[in-house]
């Protein structure tokens, strides 16, 4: 029982370190997130480590809709999957707004 508790604690610790420390960058690298509407009328990129954040994407999307009020392409999708095995992203998966967007595969 003791061994199991220790094992669980180690796993939890690894998950926490992977989600909240530099281990996240080691495991996941420096991410680039791309967003698009259904017909790709609007495409945007989030590169947080270079100053392009998610709020910027939302702002751009709102402006897109203001400038295209009659568009039928008004749903914003993320083009990157939630990959449960990437445990270093679990915190983001559960809390970050970007993952609340619906998913679509990007078509080049």
């Amino acid at each position: 029982m003791k061994k199991m508790t220790i094992s669980i604690l180690i796993i939890v610790l690894i998950i926490l370190l992977a989600n909240y420390t530099g281990l996240k960058t080691v495991l996941g690298g420096l991410p680039v997130y791309k967003y698009a509407t259904e017909s790709n009328e609007f495409v945007d990129t989030e590169i947080l480590w270079k100053g392009l954040n998610f709020e910027n994407t939302l702002s751009n999307f709102k402006k897109f809709k203001v400038e295209n009020p009659n568009t039928n392409d008004a749903v914003l999708y993320r083009t990157f999957k939630i990959e449960p095995l990437k445990f270093w992203n679990w915190h983001d998966y559960l809390t970050h707004e970007r993952y609340k967007l619906p998913y679509k595969e990007i078509i080049k």
């Binding site: 996240k24 960058t25 420096l30 680039v32 270079k50 392009l52 702002s59 203001v66 939630i82």
Partner: protein
């Protein structure tokens, strides 16, 4: 012993099942996700284009106001009249009640670059016609204001010259001064010192006692495309007045009015002039999807040839390199936390005769330092990207041509160590007269040219002809339209 091993195995199995359970839960979350509209657009109002002869009644009112025929079909290279109206770009909207609102573009011989004018005419169902002039003044990059003028006094005063116009440089010479009846001024609250009204906007009171409210929708604020809302009940019982800048923002007006109604705001504020709905045309010539209005910062530039097509390659331009350092005035190669680092950014802008394009080089996919430094490269609109230090130089027509060619044909992949944003910026400027050092720096898992070191190199640059700005700020927005 066997029992202990069995127990251990059982524990590992439990942990495995736990992990699978968590993974399945997260996976299911994605599967069950329904598409959600961030904001539902209910706007169905269309903008129509009109010929001058289709709106004869209004045309004659405008002509009478100026006591001449101010309409010109095509924008001439030189206009001798004090002002003129583009008769080929008349737009209009019809609201749900049937009120029509038309907008004309108004030009002057010497218009300041930061100001443009519209004549707005509302033809209401009760046959009331209320023409006016709105001047949009963009003071620098931040402050934006609108002034309302009675049409007749505005046009006549411009013909006869007024102090205000003369001081601002858009009138010729003359001694006759007529005060324009100024109906009010709205200033974007994000950049002014106005006080908050408590319901999402700011109340201002001008000298004639008029009061108006500016809704603070900063998200949509940009040159020529920002929303200003105001309402009032003239005489205590009239209809609300709505003023909109830009196209397609009706849903936001509706929301603003609803919010206001909820708060029981029904005082007798008056705004001049009265109108049911106003649509305003900015300095863009036509409302087509082909027109680059002002590309949104952070958006990938999908057609770089078109994006840069505005420059006259027979003339020189100003080339600027901007560096957003991870830590201002420091050669640190990164800042922030190791789980979410900030590595800074380097980008460039080209300016020529009021046309500006700002862009930078980014990776199209994720990077793993040391393991996978490569990704496809993309060019992104870096308008308004913050920076800490910049260097500018005038470049010749020949240098501009080669610069545009270099950008348009920059087909090299992004590499965090050998071809990153700073390498791109340095390559573009050092080929055109800059003489910036290329200092390498180290970061966990790699080394190379980087914004931290480049920023410091810019600060110490003494090359003749280069202008260094060390105060930082935001890069300019794109401005000017392509032919």
């Amino acid at each position: 012993m066997n029992l202990s091993k069995k127990h251990q195995l059982k524990n590992y199995l439990r942990i495995f099942v736990l992990l699978i359970g968590v993974s399945t839960l997260l996976w299911n979350c994605e599967k069950e996700e329904e598409p959600v509209l961030l904001e539902q657009s209910n706007s169905k109002i269309k903008v129509y284009s009109y010929e001058k002869q289709e709106v004869t009644q209004i045309t004659s009112i405008i002509e009478r106001a100026g006591k001449k025929d101010p309409f010109i079909k095509n924008k001439p290279s030189k206009v001798t009249e004090p002002y003129w109206i583009d008769e080929e770009n008349i737009f209009g909207v019809i609201d749900s009640v049937g009120n029509k609102t038309f907008v004309y573009r108004l030009y002057f011989n010497k218009m300041p670059e930061n100001t443009f004018y519209n004549i707005i005419v509302s033809e209401r169902v009760d046959n009331e016609i209320s023409p006016m002039v709105i001047a949009y003044e963009m003071d620098g990059e931040e402050k934006k204001s609108m002034k309302y003028y009675e049409l007749e006094s505005f046009l006549n005063s411009l013909i006869q010259i007024n102090n205000q116009a003369k001081n601002k440089g858009y009138a010729a010479s003359g001694d006759d001064i007529i005060d324009i009846t100024d109906c009010g001024e709205l200033t974007n609250p994000s950049s002014s010192n106005t006080s908050s009204s408590g319901y999402g906007g700011s109340n201002n009171n001008n000298s004639d006692g008029n009061s108006y409210t500016v809704q603070n929708y900063n998200t949509y604020v940009s040159f020529g495309s920002y929303n200003v809302y105001s309402w009032g009940s003239p005489g205590g019982g009239g209809s609300r007045v709505t003023i909109e800048v830009g196209i397609g923002s009706f849903e936001y007006i509706a929301n603003a009015l609803k919010e206001n109604a909820k708060k029981g705001d029904d005082d007798d504020r008056v705004i001049c002039p009265e109108g049911e709905l106003i649509i305003i045309v900015n300095s863009v010539d036509t409302w087509t999807t082909e027109t680059i209005l002002f590309a949104n910062p952070g958006q990938e530039i999908t057609d770089i040839d078109k994006h840069l097509d505005c420059f006259n390659i027979t003339q020189g331009a100003t080339l600027t390199i901007y560096v957003d350092q991870p830590v201002a005035n420091s050669s640190d190669t990164w800042s922030g936390s190791a789980s979410s680092p900030d590595v800074g950014h380097t980008f460039i802008s080209i300016s020529q005769n009021g046309i500006t394009r700002t862009l930078g080089f980014y990776p199209d996919g994720g990077i793993k330092p040391k393991i996978s430094n490569d990704a496809n490269g993309i060019l992104v609109d870096d308008s308004e990207h913050p920076y800490d230090v910049s260097a500018s130089r005038s470049i010749s027509a020949g240098q501009l041509t080669s610069l545009l060619t270099s950008i348009e044909s920059y087909g090299i992949d992004y590499n965090l160590e050998h071809n990153n944003c700073s390498d791109f910026g340095l390559f573009m400027v050092n080929q055109r007269g800059f003489n910036l050092s290329d200092t390498s720096g180290n970061w966990p898992g790699g080394s190379g040219t980087n914004p931290g070191n480049l920023g410091q190199d810019l600060r110490s640059d003494t090359t003749t002809g280069s202008t260094i700005s060390k105060t930082g700020g935001k890069a300019p927005k794109n401005s000017g339209t392509c032919p």
